[in-house]
Symmetry: C2
């Protein structure tokens, strides 16, 4: 984005140029009465002087107006800037077209034509039953698609973002960095990624869009044992740490939160749906079915929002969100669900960014990767930063710089194998941290994290 070349922000400088028609001067001359020849010399000089003043002033005005029209400030700039500006303007026009989705080939979609029946409960899809046995049979019949690989249950990480460009241009850049961060972590831990950029259900758009996609993936990937939803504004910051799946053998939903905030205070932030794991089983399909009804956009979501605000402590007034709705569901139907829900807080499956991002240098000094908790957070989650949208809850500068720091903090752990590290946590540039040798495999043995899996030891 180049400098605004408009001269309107620059103070006028320099004197007038050419001689515009000097109507004021003429008017002045005519208004004065009498021709020139009749005036004394002194008066004539004064008159001439006045005319010159007015001419200069008019010339000045004309130049100001002309500068605004033709952009004199741009005459000296390179044609490259002009080309750049043209490209950006054309891009914006095309963007607007894409955003308005002016594709004429829109076809009928049953979801759109059916009248919304407010009395009917919204359904994610036809009710599936016996999924556990269906899945078990399928796995037996398809041994080339086991649900465990190298002794570890298969995990699929689901994340995503809206299909259209971000309102704030920097948003797409941070989405890109965020997905690179996830690619790195998942490559090192044998986790598959699905990056969703489609709204499977118009009614469940926004933060609710994860529900239909999770269901669709559970049913389409019987070989996957766990679906791990992760927000696009959450970054991995402990590249070594591994989800301690053995902890959850008897559970189907693993979510970060605090039991006292949940059961005692009924706080709307008792749990965080920015990063959670859901097992591929009938229970999970049932949970999704029970969770979804507050989601459909419009009157249902609005009314549900009021219920949630009344019920949950600290919740502001806004439409129903998936997190509040889940908390409400788990509290109001505690006996049905809680036995299979693991409320995890021994490591940062979700780590709220504010208390973490300023301590990265201290962490490097005192601790090491693999801890996953407040000493070296597994996930740093930029709740409220919203780089893709326009209305963040936090200052833009604080957010962007913090995200940059988190990204580089994680990237350093990845680059270590390759012998590099960032020059500073705000720097995109890297430097060598280790000399190259003619025996590179010694470094591989030493630094490839896949060769040294870390075991989680909870502090409590």
């Amino acid at each position: 984005m180049g400098q605004d070349g408009s001269p309107a922000h620059k103070r006028p400088s320099g004197s007038g140029g050419g001689l515009p028609t000097s109507t004021v001067a003429n008017g002045g001359g005519r208004g004065g009465g009498g021709g020139r020849g009749l005036l004394p010399r002194g008066r004539q000089m004064q008159k001439t002087f006045n005319n010159i003043k007015i001419t200069i002033l008019c010339g000045f005005v004309t130049i100001l107006v002309l500068r605004g029209t033709i952009g004199v400030g741009n005459l000296g700039s390179s044609s490259a800037d002009a080309v750049n500006q043209n490209i950006i303007e054309e891009t914006n026009r095309i963007l607007a077209e894409i955003r308005s989705d002016s594709d004429p080939t829109d076809l009928d979609d049953p979801h759109e034509t059916e009248t919304m029946n407010l009395n009917a409960t919204y359904a994610l899809g036809p009710k599936i039953t016996g999924w556990d046995s269906q899945r078990k049979v399928w796995l037996n019949q398809n041994p080339e698609f086991p649900s465990s690989v190298n002794g570890r249950a298969r995990i699929l990480l689901l994340t995503g973002s809206p299909p259209k460009p971000c309102d704030n241009p920097i948003g797409d850049h941070y989405l890109l960095k965020s997905v690179k961060n996830k690619i790195d972590y998942c490559r090192l831990h044998g986790i598959e990624i699905v990056y969703n950029m489609a709204h499977l259900d118009k009614e469940l758009a926004g933060y609710w869009a994860k529900l239909p996609m999770i269901r669709r993936l559970l049913l389409s990937h019987p070989e996957v044992e766990w679906i791990w939803w992760m927000d696009s504004d959450a970054l991995f910051t402990d590249i070594l740490f591994q989800i301690p799946l053995a902890r959850y053998e008897k559970h189907n939903l693993v979510i970060h939160g605090y039991p006292d905030l949940l059961f005692d205070q009924k706080s709307w932030i008792a749990l965080n749906t920015g990063s959670f794991l859901l097992r591929n089983c009938q229970w999970s399909l049932d949970l999704l079915d029970a969770w979804a009804p507050m989601g459909p956009k419009g009157p249902i979501r609005d009314e549900a929002g009021k219920v949630l605000t009344a019920y949950l402590k600290g919740r502001p007034a806004f439409e129903a969100d998936d997190q509040s709705a889940l908390i409400y569901l788990l509290l109001s139907q505690k006996d049905t669900w809680m036995e299979k829900v693991f409320v995890e807080n021994q490591y940062y499956l979700h780590g709220f960014w504010e208390g973490l991002v300023d301590r990265y240098e201290e962490m490097v000094e005192k601790y090491h990767p693999g801890l996953g908790d407040e000493r070296w957070p597994f996930v740093t989650h930029f709740v409220g930063c919203k780089p893709c949208g326009s209305y963040a809850d936090y200052a833009v500068e604080r957010c962007l710089k913090s995200m940059e720091r988190a990204f580089n903090f994680a990237d350093n752990q990845v680059l270590k194998l390759y012998g590099f590290g960032h020059r500073g946590l705000l720097s995109p540039k890297i430097k060598r941290i280790r000399n190259e040798t003619v025996t590179p495999l010694e470094s591989v043995d030493k630094f490839d994290i896949r060769r040294t899996p870390v075991e989680f030891k909870p502090q409590n």
Copy 2:
């Protein structure tokens, strides 16, 4: 990016406002000689009239200047626009800061302090010898990291983009879509991805940056059999097609191109380095070492560019690029290298976009995925579109819309398993293409492409 609110593009309208100090009038008064009292009434009126004219003119000028400064055109816009504009301006400021990399903790880097010796040949790193046996020993010692998985050689796809936000904001959005496209393909084919956003070597920046990264990955990932470099502007468009590795058992470099363009015409586009495979072996390390010397930015790259332009048919005059340099190397040292180079054109390992993007609907009508060639291109490569930069070789609109089409054409093949497809090749919206059932595993059996690998049958 909001409207440019500067009034400099608007014609001035309205009359003057306040009364600025009228130095011209005063000067005029003083220059005229004599006080007011000494002038006849008519002359006094004329003088007054002149002063009023000058006052009005000066007021007019003042208003023009003020409008430019405070942006009167903006006073009526909504506060939301103002907030949005503020956020975007602040973002730009931060971006400029990040781009200028003002991190004070820059440390010394040996590469930077050494004086460039133009007589010395540039080296990617210390000369590695005996890599084949080093690697073989390592593989034997580390059976948990085999170079083949499920009977298929392990491939690592390397792609990337510069660490800073794109000059053109839409660029980051297409980089995001491009990496999602690669994530989808690679998930379905068991290929690992490294997304590089770091310059490992300042001298080899730009299109040359792939060389040091490829070398680093070969040496750091002995378990990987092939490194597959793919440009960020290349999209997978045949999700089913699989690289026919058996074809290349005796080769170490697989690259798209045409032998007659290469050997007969010495054309600078005889091969395309936007998508190629390099085997993990000593030969490849040697090739990289022989390839790199034309790359160092500055006089070396400039001079090398002249050599390449003189030698290669059709090459414009510009600094040495990696593609021309490789062609030159393979031609000038044909006997050393060509035996192990497979010049592939039986499918579109690289498919130039212009002749392909308008035919996608026709392809859907007549053909099917898995062919990989002009009937259903494996890769559609948007050479010259440069959405991240400013100086594209093709019209912006044509490029962006074509990339959108290619992305959706590929995405349809991925979404098919889930029962969805885009409403049109330009539409981000999707629709159901298959009703949901209570027996979803039937769809899995039918549509999961991993269950129906396709065998490549060359037409020649």
